[in-house]
Amino acid sequence: MKAETKPSRKKIEATSLMNRIMADYFLDLDQASASGSRKVAWCTSVGPAELLRALGFAVHFPENHAAMLGATRLATDLIPEANAIGYSPDICSYLTSDLGAYLKGFTPLAKAYPGIAALPKPDVLVYNTNQCRDVQDWFAWYARELGVPCIGITSPKNVNEVTDAHVEDVTRQLEALVPVLAEISGAPLDLARLREVVALSRACTELWKQVLETATAVPAPLTFFDGTIHMGPAVVLRGTPQAVEYYRVLLAELEQRKTTREAAVAGEEYRIYWDGMPVWGRLRQHSELFAGLRASVVASTYCSSWIFPSFDAQEPLRSMAKAYLELFIVRSDAYKERYLAEMMEKFRIDGIVYHDAKTCPYNSNSRYGMPQRLEAETGLPHLVISGDLNDMRCVSDEQTKTNVEAFIEQLEEGK
């Protein structure tokens, strides 16, 4: 039985370096757009960023922007703007909050980084539907609104094993993007530069993986909630030396904490896995809720989705295709179950929490019986919480709190 306990989390020192790197990224993007010195591409989070960087584009990621709208708890006020022009409250709340922000002429970047007045204007919009169909609809709206080209990759879905045929398909699509993008950028693709960028993405991904895997230690030095913040460079600076450098610093700090057994959650008693999107507008509350129950959320599907082991500088386009296809969200339920079972074992998990996000069916894995199947297989209990990534109208804090507390009580009884 738990009396009230004060949550205790230790600040990660590398955060200040990350904040500088992220500020430089946004200011550079703004400068590229304002001066016209470089073309700007908007790209989905697991879109062909390597190709865009190799062609010299400054790259903006609307999903990152939408997550900022969520984390700053502004999204819920912006979403109705998009609803009012026909974009349903039931579709992706990243999409609706980002469109809402545009319609209101607002960006949190302007507040966070003095000097930035607006989002960088795109010269091209590049998507990959490996995330979902909504990203394509999202970019299509901007294409119409801003009169810029919108191109991308239509990815296979429900992929069990990634076969040569799948990889061929996406490689061909990537190859078809090259001349179009080269024309917009004004320079041909330099293969050596692409190899260099892919090598940097690979280095970033390997370091990010090691960062996340420090949480296999007991107690874990890092939580899912930390991960959602520290994954910023892996999302927006993949393929750059800055991201690689950052994760070297972060990894060194976490390895040190591992050695000295510094727990991210003081008195860690329970190790939890989080599947699904973060509830961006409740990140701190959720972090404190779990920590207050001495439960450390040590691993997640979400943070691990930025691990791309297949990047290979020797075969840049083909390996990009493979990496983008190996993404968890594109895979079959059978694959996802195998993956989750392995993660349970690797991170010594006591229980799994599935976030059923109202507006994100693609990242909600609790709707087709998977929690029940996985529980039968692993014997590890599960909890499904209803919520959303950005639309806080879909969140009931009291229900979440009661559910999480009851889940930890259940784990306590089972020990």
Partner: protein
């Protein structure tokens, strides 16, 4: 000082329930009141009523545990709480040891809690955000039909041809009820349809295993709903003697088990 007592306070969104147990785990006092807007005051009133029934005073309270939505609102009695899911499980296991599926229909939410043969929780489900299938749904529908809530049970019993409501949205169900009124359907048939809708919403939350027990205020006040559930699931439903008290009894049992810290007596004495 006479014999010590153990108190469970279940401060629900709709009703506050207090149970007082003695050291032999007998329920010797209880009270139920509408929670209202001052959870602390209501809990205090219920505490005094139930202690009086138990022949005890606040000085006899050895330990107390709070549960329910307002579990953090009674620091003057106890700062130790358990979730209502945990307390329901404990309370039902006390009345019916062994594997169980507990269906709790409360004022604001529903729960299905499963216990294994040892009485440990193996899983639980709460209803999602909407009020479908809860006491709040019944209150809303009683309002639409302009009948007192407490008459619903007898009306449903009189039904000869149940009206089926298809929607799981409270607002849409309300529209369906209006449509039935417009078509001249009998109020008793509509009420039975409303009861049926409550049961369906609850049963779709989870599968039921082993023995089934029902708890909560809705069940306590509408025994016909239990009979309908039995018909629907094709087996007997167990009921504690006081179904609305199951969570409060569970909380009192936790208090008795000594897993909670002792109640600081000065805090108890400060209660008005």
């Amino acid at each position: 000082m006479s014999k010590p007592v153990f108190v469970g306070l279940d401060i629900g969104a709709s009703r506050t329930k207090v149970a007082v147990m003695d050291a032999d785990l007998s329920l010797i006092g209880y009270a139920v009141k509408k929670s209202g807007t001052d959870f602390g005051r209501t809990a205090s009133v219920c505490l005094d009523i139930s202690l009086k029934m138990a022949g005890a005073t606040r000085s006899h309270v050895e330990r107390a545990v709070a549960t329910g939505y307002g579990r953090a609102n009674v620091p003057f009695v106890t700062k130790t709480s358990k979730t209502e899911i945990g307390c329901l499980a404990r309370g039902c296991n006390h009345f019916f040891p062994g594997a169980l599926s507990i269906i709790d229909i409360g004022g604001q939410d529903n729960k299905i809690v499963k216990l294994d043969a040892a009485g440990r929780r193996s899983s639980f489900k709460m209803n999602r955000k909407c009020a479908a299938g809860t006491g709040a749904f019944l209150e809303e529908m009683a309002g639409r039909l302009d009948i007192p809530l407490e008459e619903m049970n007898d009306l449903a019993r009189q039904s000869e041809e149940m009206v089926k409501l298809g929607s799981y949205c409270t607002v849409f169900s309300g529209t369906e009820v209006l449509e039935s009124i417009r078509h001249g359907k009998k109020v008793s048939d509509i009420v039975k349809g409303i009861f049926y809708s409550v049961i369906k919403r609850v049963l779709e939350m989870d599968s039921l295993t082993d023995r089934v027990v029902m708890t909560g205020g809705v069940v306590a006040h509408n025994p016909y709903l239990v009979r309908m559930t039995e018909e629907l699931i094709g087996r007997e439903v167990l009921l504690p003697k006081l179904p609305q008290l199951a969570g409060a009894v569970g909380a009192a049992l936790y208090a008795k088990a000594g897993e909670a810290a002792a109640v600081p007596q000065p805090l108890l004495r400060r209660v008005k």
